[in-house]
Symmetry: C2
Subunit: 195 residues, 2 copies
């Protein structure tokens, strides 16, 4: 195979969720569609120039502040803490939350050597102290890393007198009970609510 095609396939197969077969399909599609190839090269090439990190919360931003921090309609009394900026989009799509966010930049992970000091915890504490925050909602993944991080944050936040909650864990919507694992089902029982 000729070099430019091999180089494209090599760059494509390094992407997540793209195997050799998908890479070939994409490469041949791009060869057949010069306009789309030019457009894709343009948006990927300009990505890091155009996307920054919000000075306040760590979300993706085009300017100093992300659209959420810049929106005066959002309720500044609540901060939802997430590990990664892209999790904000998932929460926003629920339409259930009108407060602000704080991106930690990761989770405490003994296996990967990530400690609490590597995360954006001090800026979070500063925001609690300075921005009139009344509730911190932890939206961290319900696995070891998420729980270690939540424990650390709780220890740091409690002395500040702010209310700390975490999003509910339980059986996911639209699934039968048999497909839920035992830990999820156990948590759903412990977290049962009156009707």
């Amino acid at each position: 195979m000729i070099a430019p095609l091999e180089e494209l396939l090599a760059a494509l197969t390094r992407l997540p969720a793209i195997g050799r077969r998908s890479a070939e399909r994409i490469a041949f599609y791009l060869l057949a569609k010069p306009d789309h190839a030019a457009r894709l090269a343009e948006v990927i090439g300009a990505l890091h120039e155009r996307i920054h990190t919000c000075d306040r919360c760590g979300n993706f931003a085009e300017r100093d502040l992300c659209p959420i921090c810049a929106d005066p309609q959002r309720e500044a009394s609540a901060l939802c803490v997430v590990a990664r900026p892209w999790e904000i989009g998932h929460i926003e799509r629920t339409g259930e939350y009108r407060g602000l966010y704080h991106v930690l930049g990761g989770l405490v992970s003994p296996s990967s050597g990530v400690e609490a000091e590597d995360l954006s915890v001090d800026p979070l504490l500063a925001r609690v102290a300075n921005e009139g925050v009344q509730e911190i909602i932890l939206a961290l993944e319900p696995r070891l890393e998420g729980e270690l991080t939540a424990m650390h944050l709780l220890r740091k936040l409690k002395p500040l007198g702010v209310r700390v909650t975490q999003i509910a864990q339980g059986v996911p919507a639209g699934r039968d009970l048999e497909s839920a694992d035992e830990i999820t089902l156990g948590r759903a029982f412990r977290g049962r609510v009156p009707l």
Copy 2:
């Protein structure tokens, strides 16, 4: 979501085999890996400048001739006819074929309005007449379009006195017989070979 990210997701989801979820994973990966994003933009952007069509066979090429047509070791007495240039790579990987290729640029397709006149048939006939070709091997997909195309080619090639063959159809390797469809299994019976 901010505009540069939406534009990237829009461009990614137009690619084959990439849904919204995969596009998000790729976008966030590219955001986290500036070097890879720059490299990908570069190879996609340069694609149409660097890749051409072989003057002789229609394969992908960096120069006037593709590496196969430019290789004096290949046997010029055999031409393998394929619909699309990327099928050549699959055949090359088998290591079973040492002749040259000819890319038709598609298949006769009544449903898509593609007729034999839209394909690279006249250049194929010219090659047979001028290049001392002794065998034409049709490697077209074993479906209606491939068979209509094969019938048309056979009609045009027979008068030239060249031998025309097609690759064998039968049960694929490494699968149990139950997973072969009836047409495939029927063809495998008709094409049975003595042991």
